[in-house]
Symmetry: C2
Protein backbone atom coordinates (compact mmCIF):
# COMPACT_ATOMS: atom_id res chain seq x y z
CA UNK A 1 0.00 0.00 0.00
CA UNK A 2 1.27 3.44 -0.94
CA UNK A 3 2.19 5.68 2.02
CA UNK A 4 -0.43 8.22 0.87
CA UNK A 5 -3.23 5.69 0.50
CA UNK A 6 -5.06 6.37 3.76
CA UNK A 7 -8.35 8.05 4.55
CA UNK A 8 -7.99 11.83 4.51
CA UNK A 9 -4.94 12.00 2.27
CA UNK A 10 -5.38 14.02 -0.90
CA UNK A 11 -3.82 14.86 -4.24
CA UNK A 12 -4.21 17.88 -6.51
CA UNK A 13 -3.68 18.01 -10.27
CA UNK A 14 -3.86 21.25 -12.30
CA UNK A 15 -5.12 21.07 -15.87
CA UNK A 16 -6.74 23.03 -18.70
CA UNK A 17 -8.39 22.22 -22.00
CA UNK A 18 -8.19 24.02 -25.35
CA UNK A 19 -10.94 24.39 -27.96
CA UNK A 20 -9.00 21.82 -30.01
CA UNK A 21 -9.42 19.38 -27.09
CA UNK A 22 -13.17 20.09 -27.03
CA UNK A 23 -13.36 19.42 -30.77
CA UNK A 24 -11.36 16.19 -30.43
CA UNK A 25 -13.62 15.03 -27.59
CA UNK A 26 -16.72 15.85 -29.68
CA UNK A 27 -15.31 13.82 -32.56
CA UNK A 28 -14.39 10.69 -30.61
CA UNK A 29 -17.55 10.64 -28.47
CA UNK A 30 -19.99 11.95 -31.10
CA UNK A 31 -21.28 14.61 -28.70
CA UNK A 32 -21.57 17.49 -31.17
CA UNK A 33 -23.95 19.56 -29.00
CA UNK A 34 -23.46 23.12 -30.35
CA UNK A 35 -23.32 24.41 -26.78
CA UNK A 36 -19.73 23.15 -26.84
CA UNK A 37 -18.73 23.88 -30.42
CA UNK A 38 -20.69 26.82 -31.84
CA UNK A 39 -19.95 30.26 -30.36
CA UNK A 40 -22.96 31.78 -32.14
CA UNK A 41 -25.35 29.21 -30.65
CA UNK A 42 -23.71 29.40 -27.22
CA UNK A 43 -24.20 33.18 -27.24
CA UNK A 44 -27.97 32.55 -27.15
CA UNK A 45 -27.68 30.46 -23.96
CA UNK A 46 -27.29 31.62 -20.35
CA UNK A 47 -23.60 30.65 -20.63
CA UNK A 48 -22.99 33.28 -23.38
CA UNK A 49 -19.97 31.36 -24.75
CA UNK A 50 -19.14 27.70 -25.47
CA UNK A 51 -18.70 25.50 -22.42
CA UNK A 52 -16.62 22.35 -22.14
CA UNK A 53 -18.50 19.04 -22.20
CA UNK A 54 -19.13 18.11 -18.56
CA UNK A 55 -17.80 14.63 -19.31
CA UNK A 56 -14.59 16.10 -20.77
CA UNK A 57 -14.01 18.07 -17.58
CA UNK A 58 -14.79 14.96 -15.54
CA UNK A 59 -12.31 12.96 -17.61
CA UNK A 60 -9.61 14.44 -15.35
CA UNK A 61 -10.95 11.98 -12.78
CA UNK A 62 -10.30 8.91 -14.94
CA UNK A 63 -6.93 10.39 -16.00
CA UNK A 64 -5.61 11.02 -12.50
CA UNK A 65 -7.15 7.94 -10.87
CA UNK A 66 -5.93 5.71 -13.70
CA UNK A 67 -2.42 7.09 -14.09
CA UNK A 68 -1.32 9.03 -11.01
CA UNK A 69 -3.39 8.66 -7.86
CA UNK A 70 -3.54 5.78 -7.09
CA UNK A 71 -2.42 5.07 -10.69
CA UNK A 72 -1.79 2.00 -12.82
CA UNK A 73 -3.72 -1.08 -11.84
CA UNK A 74 -6.82 0.92 -10.93
CA UNK A 75 -10.17 -0.47 -12.03
CA UNK A 76 -13.00 2.06 -12.08
CA UNK A 77 -16.12 0.73 -10.35
CA UNK A 78 -18.32 3.81 -9.84
CA UNK A 79 -18.37 7.57 -10.28
CA UNK A 80 -21.01 10.11 -9.33
CA UNK A 81 -20.90 13.49 -11.06
CA UNK A 82 -22.58 16.80 -10.30
CA UNK A 83 -22.00 19.46 -12.94
CA UNK A 84 -22.41 22.53 -10.74
CA UNK A 85 -20.92 25.33 -12.82
CA UNK A 86 -19.87 25.60 -16.48
CA UNK A 87 -16.23 25.06 -17.44
CA UNK A 88 -14.46 26.97 -20.18
CA UNK A 89 -11.43 26.46 -22.43
CA UNK A 90 -8.05 28.09 -21.72
CA UNK A 91 -8.83 28.26 -18.01
CA UNK A 92 -6.84 26.62 -15.21
CA UNK A 93 -8.68 24.12 -13.06
CA UNK A 94 -7.60 21.89 -10.20
CA UNK A 95 -8.73 18.32 -9.72
CA UNK A 96 -8.72 17.54 -5.98
CA UNK A 97 -8.80 13.88 -4.90
CA UNK A 98 -9.35 12.97 -1.25
CA UNK A 99 -9.51 9.39 0.02
CA UNK A 100 -12.76 8.98 1.97
CA UNK A 101 -12.42 5.33 2.95
CA UNK A 102 -10.49 2.20 2.08
CA UNK A 103 -11.73 -1.39 2.23
CA UNK A 104 -8.52 -3.48 2.40
CA UNK A 105 -10.43 -6.77 2.15
CA UNK A 106 -11.89 -5.81 -1.22
CA UNK A 107 -8.92 -3.63 -2.27
CA UNK A 108 -11.36 -0.80 -2.95
CA UNK A 109 -11.52 2.85 -1.95
CA UNK A 110 -14.01 5.70 -2.11
CA UNK A 111 -12.35 8.89 -3.26
CA UNK A 112 -13.95 12.33 -3.26
CA UNK A 113 -13.35 14.00 -6.63
CA UNK A 114 -13.72 17.74 -7.18
CA UNK A 115 -12.81 20.27 -9.82
CA UNK A 116 -12.18 23.87 -8.73
CA UNK A 117 -11.52 26.97 -10.82
CA UNK A 118 -7.90 27.77 -9.90
CA UNK A 119 -8.62 31.50 -9.64
CA UNK A 120 -12.12 31.78 -8.17
CA UNK A 121 -11.77 28.56 -6.06
CA UNK A 122 -15.39 27.75 -6.96
CA UNK A 123 -16.26 24.07 -7.45
CA UNK A 124 -17.38 23.30 -11.00
CA UNK A 125 -17.81 19.52 -10.71
CA UNK A 126 -17.92 17.16 -7.77
CA UNK A 127 -18.58 13.52 -7.08
CA UNK A 128 -17.28 10.34 -5.54
CA UNK A 129 -15.24 7.65 -7.28
CA UNK A 130 -15.09 4.00 -6.23
CA UNK A 131 -11.97 2.19 -7.39
CA UNK A 132 -10.32 -1.21 -7.01
CA UNK A 133 -6.54 -1.36 -6.97
CA UNK A 134 -5.04 -4.57 -5.64
CA UNK A 135 -1.57 -3.09 -5.12
CA UNK A 136 -2.52 0.25 -3.62
CA UNK A 137 -5.51 -0.48 -1.35
CA UNK B 1 -42.63 19.26 -25.01
CA UNK B 2 -41.68 16.41 -27.30
CA UNK B 3 -44.32 13.66 -27.63
CA UNK B 4 -41.81 11.14 -26.23
CA UNK B 5 -40.79 13.25 -23.24
CA UNK B 6 -42.90 11.53 -20.61
CA UNK B 7 -42.06 9.22 -17.77
CA UNK B 8 -41.55 5.67 -19.00
CA UNK B 9 -40.71 6.51 -22.60
CA UNK B 10 -37.35 5.29 -23.82
CA UNK B 11 -34.82 5.52 -26.60
CA UNK B 12 -32.12 3.11 -27.77
CA UNK B 13 -28.91 3.96 -29.60
CA UNK B 14 -26.49 1.32 -30.94
CA UNK B 15 -22.78 2.13 -31.01
CA UNK B 16 -19.27 0.66 -31.01
CA UNK B 17 -15.77 1.98 -30.50
CA UNK B 18 -12.53 1.07 -32.29
CA UNK B 19 -9.02 0.90 -30.82
CA UNK B 20 -8.34 4.17 -32.67
CA UNK B 21 -11.20 5.74 -30.69
CA UNK B 22 -9.67 4.45 -27.45
CA UNK B 23 -6.31 5.95 -28.43
CA UNK B 24 -7.92 9.29 -29.35
CA UNK B 25 -9.78 9.34 -26.03
CA UNK B 26 -6.53 8.57 -24.17
CA UNK B 27 -4.82 11.42 -25.97
CA UNK B 28 -7.45 14.11 -25.36
CA UNK B 29 -8.14 13.14 -21.74
CA UNK B 30 -4.59 12.14 -20.77
CA UNK B 31 -5.82 8.79 -19.40
CA UNK B 32 -3.00 6.58 -20.69
CA UNK B 33 -3.70 3.71 -18.27
CA UNK B 34 -2.10 0.70 -20.03
CA UNK B 35 -5.19 -1.37 -19.20
CA UNK B 36 -6.77 0.42 -22.19
CA UNK B 37 -3.78 0.73 -24.53
CA UNK B 38 -1.25 -2.06 -23.95
CA UNK B 39 -2.34 -5.58 -24.91
CA UNK B 40 0.68 -7.11 -23.17
CA UNK B 41 -0.12 -5.37 -19.87
CA UNK B 42 -3.83 -6.11 -20.20
CA UNK B 43 -3.02 -9.81 -20.66
CA UNK B 44 -1.73 -9.83 -17.05
CA UNK B 45 -5.07 -8.53 -15.69
CA UNK B 46 -8.31 -10.45 -15.06
CA UNK B 47 -9.66 -8.86 -18.28
CA UNK B 48 -7.00 -10.63 -20.43
CA UNK B 49 -7.24 -7.97 -23.18
CA UNK B 50 -7.50 -4.17 -23.32
CA UNK B 51 -10.80 -2.73 -22.11
CA UNK B 52 -12.38 0.57 -23.14
CA UNK B 53 -12.08 3.45 -20.67
CA UNK B 54 -15.29 3.38 -18.58
CA UNK B 55 -15.68 7.10 -19.24
CA UNK B 56 -15.40 6.54 -23.00
CA UNK B 57 -18.21 3.99 -22.86
CA UNK B 58 -20.24 6.36 -20.70
CA UNK B 59 -19.66 9.16 -23.20
CA UNK B 60 -22.54 7.64 -25.19
CA UNK B 61 -24.73 9.17 -22.49
CA UNK B 62 -23.53 12.74 -23.10
CA UNK B 63 -23.66 12.11 -26.86
CA UNK B 64 -27.26 10.87 -26.98
CA UNK B 65 -28.61 13.18 -24.27
CA UNK B 66 -26.90 16.19 -25.84
CA UNK B 67 -27.70 15.54 -29.48
CA UNK B 68 -30.63 13.11 -29.86
CA UNK B 69 -32.70 12.39 -26.80
CA UNK B 70 -33.79 14.93 -25.68
CA UNK B 71 -31.09 16.64 -27.81
CA UNK B 72 -29.92 20.19 -28.41
CA UNK B 73 -30.51 22.61 -25.58
CA UNK B 74 -29.81 19.98 -22.93
CA UNK B 75 -27.71 21.04 -19.95
CA UNK B 76 -26.14 18.17 -18.02
CA UNK B 77 -26.68 18.52 -14.26
CA UNK B 78 -25.77 15.11 -12.84
CA UNK B 79 -24.76 11.61 -13.85
CA UNK B 80 -24.18 8.54 -11.74
CA UNK B 81 -22.11 5.73 -13.24
CA UNK B 82 -21.61 2.10 -12.26
CA UNK B 83 -19.03 0.28 -14.34
CA UNK B 84 -20.37 -3.25 -13.92
CA UNK B 85 -18.62 -5.19 -16.66
CA UNK B 86 -15.69 -4.41 -18.99
CA UNK B 87 -16.35 -3.09 -22.48
CA UNK B 88 -14.25 -3.99 -25.51
CA UNK B 89 -13.50 -2.49 -28.92
CA UNK B 90 -15.22 -3.65 -32.11
CA UNK B 91 -18.24 -4.84 -30.13
CA UNK B 92 -21.82 -3.61 -30.55
CA UNK B 93 -23.44 -2.02 -27.53
CA UNK B 94 -26.82 -0.39 -26.97
CA UNK B 95 -27.37 2.74 -24.92
CA UNK B 96 -30.88 2.59 -23.43
CA UNK B 97 -32.41 5.81 -22.10
CA UNK B 98 -35.64 5.73 -20.09
CA UNK B 99 -37.29 8.81 -18.64
CA UNK B 100 -37.85 8.22 -14.93
CA UNK B 101 -39.44 11.54 -14.00
CA UNK B 102 -39.95 15.07 -15.32
CA UNK B 103 -40.14 18.27 -13.28
CA UNK B 104 -41.89 20.74 -15.62
CA UNK B 105 -41.42 23.66 -13.20
CA UNK B 106 -37.64 23.30 -13.31
CA UNK B 107 -37.54 21.91 -16.88
CA UNK B 108 -35.51 18.99 -15.58
CA UNK B 109 -35.76 15.24 -15.96
CA UNK B 110 -34.17 12.16 -14.44
CA UNK B 111 -33.27 9.64 -17.12
CA UNK B 112 -32.09 6.08 -16.49
CA UNK B 113 -29.02 5.38 -18.63
CA UNK B 114 -27.80 1.88 -19.38
CA UNK B 115 -25.35 0.22 -21.73
CA UNK B 116 -26.01 -3.38 -22.80
CA UNK B 117 -23.90 -5.74 -24.84
CA UNK B 118 -26.02 -6.15 -27.99
CA UNK B 119 -25.38 -9.90 -28.13
CA UNK B 120 -25.30 -11.08 -24.52
CA UNK B 121 -27.84 -8.44 -23.32
CA UNK B 122 -25.74 -8.03 -20.17
CA UNK B 123 -25.54 -4.54 -18.69
CA UNK B 124 -21.99 -3.13 -18.74
CA UNK B 125 -22.69 0.35 -17.35
CA UNK B 126 -25.68 1.89 -15.66
CA UNK B 127 -26.63 5.11 -13.94
CA UNK B 128 -29.04 8.00 -13.81
CA UNK B 129 -28.70 11.33 -15.63
CA UNK B 130 -30.29 14.58 -14.52
CA UNK B 131 -30.77 17.08 -17.32
CA UNK B 132 -32.31 20.50 -17.86
CA UNK B 133 -33.88 21.25 -21.23
CA UNK B 134 -36.19 24.28 -21.37
CA UNK B 135 -37.79 23.27 -24.67
CA UNK B 136 -38.24 19.54 -24.07
CA UNK B 137 -39.20 19.25 -20.40
Amino acid sequence: MNIEAKAGSSFTHTFRFSQADVEAFAQVTGDTNPLHLDAEFAATTPFKRPIIHGMLGASVFTKVLGTQYPGYGSVYLKQTLEFMRPMFVDTDYEGVFTIVSINPDKHTAEISTEILDSQTRKVTTRGVATLMNKEKF
